[in-house]
């Protein structure tokens, strides 16, 4: 390679076209992209953070309730709890065993709660409300990002937490009955 070659290479390179028109108009695609409503990165992140906080809080509360459980006046309550429909993105599905257990426990919940002291009942209801709110929030985030695996996992965890809580309610009422029997 010689200086002569370099000189010519530089000279010819500077003559290469630097402005080239695309073969098609690229603006319509760009316009579509930039006119799309900005999806806040905070929505799914907040939903995830809220879900984590709520689930940790619910777990702690349940543990506390289970430990301090004592008997009290038993009153009947009206069924007020509303359960979210189980729904998912493409990667996870709730198995029939899970759904059967969930439906069975839901049906028994009011009867089980009626056997518990008012304070305990109130705590459980608050915890269930928190879990349901987490499920609603995560489902809302999943509507925007249906294939977000992390959200799907959070939702699955929320359903599991709900199931665990429902089972614990049954356990609590059995303890109450045993102590009353004694």
């Amino acid at each position: 390679m010689t200086d002569k070659f370099d000189d010519k290479l530089d000279r010819v390179a500077r003559q290469l076209a630097t402005e080239i028109s695309p073969e098609r108009d690229l603006w319509p695609d760009i316009a579509t992209q930039i006119s799309a409503p900005k999806r806040s990165r905070w929505t799914p992140m907040l939903a995830q953070a809220a879900a984590v906080v709520l689930l940790v809080g619910a777990s702690s509360a349940i543990t506390y309730v289970a430990v301090k459980n004592d008997s009290g006046p038993v009153v009947s309550i009206a069924p007020e709890l509303v359960f979210e429909q189980a729904s998912f993105g493409g990667n996870y599905h709730l198995g029939p065993g899970f759904l059967d257990a969930r439906h069975g426990l839901r049906a028994e919940l009011d009867v089980e709660l009626a056997r518990l002291p008012a304070e305990t009942r109130s705590d459980i209801r608050a915890n269930l409300d928190m879990i349901h709110k987490a499920i609603v929030d995560i489902n809302a985030a999943l509507e925007e990002e249906p294939d977000n695996v992390m959200l799907q996992q959070k939702l699955l965890r929320a359903y599991r937490e709900e199931l665990t809580l429902l089972r614990r309610v049954g356990g609590l009422t059995r303890n109450v009955m045993k102590r009353n029997d004694i």
Binding site: R14, L26, I30, I34, S35
Partner: protein, 200 residues
């Protein structure tokens, strides 16, 4: 904003630029308007700079389809970052930097997706259509055949006139690496072009 992106608006913006009567003051005004989320002003900026951006993307990728994607990505990123443009450099330089990032980002993504690399490798590259003829076309085709890093440095330095420091900054490499890659590019181009009588 949707209302600003109708066909009529598009014609309006195209007219603003195609009249070739724009001045630096016009560009400054469009930048200011685009920074206030005025899509019509941003389209005017697009019309003004698209050939420069597409040209750079095409020279860097050597592939029409990739160049189109990188150009679109560059303008989308520019729209998102308009509030960060302070006017320290020319708008064309600023968007060139974004375009280089778009090209590099696309390459990194391609390398992560092995299947995609295979698909690209198996596909005959689209012939680059430019106004280059004769020895210019010979050089352009030889540049397209350069290894990626050598091609990027050669395009930024020898074709677009960026200094080694500027090119290195855009590419995220050291200035010394830029010089070494340019030397490598020259050597490889010499091998290719001398066979075609480039020096005749």
């Amino acid at each position: 904003m949707d209302a600003l992106l109708t066909a009529a608006d598009s014609d309006y913006s195209e007219a603003m630029v195609s009249a070739d009567s724009h001045t630096a003051a016009d560009e400054k005004a469009w930048i200011a308007q685009a920074q206030r989320s005025d899509a019509r002003a941003f389209e005017a900026l697009y019309r003004l700079h698209v050939d420069k951006v597409y040209g750079l993307c095409l020279r860097m990728t050597g592939n029409v389809s990739e160049a189109e994607d990188c150009t679109q990505e560059a303008f989308i990123q520019a729209w998102k970052k308009m509030d960060k443009f302070r006017g320290d450099s020319a708008f064309s330089t600023w968007i060139h930097r974004i375009a280089v990032n778009a090209v590099l980002g696309r390459i990194r993504k391609s390398k992560r997706e092995q299947d995609r690399i295979q698909a690209v490798t198996d596909t005959e590259p689209t012939r680059v259509a430019t106004s280059d003829t004769g020895e210019l076309q010979d050089l352009a085709e030889a540049v397209d055949r350069l290894p990626e890093k050598a091609r990027h440095v050669f395009v930024l330095n020898a074709v677009y006139g960026y200094s080694h420091n500027e090119a290195a900054s855009m590419l995220g490499i050291a200035a010394g690496t830029s010089k070494a890659q340019l030397h490598r590019a020259r050597r490889l181009l010499a091998q290719q072009l001398e066979e075609q009588g480039f020096m005749a």
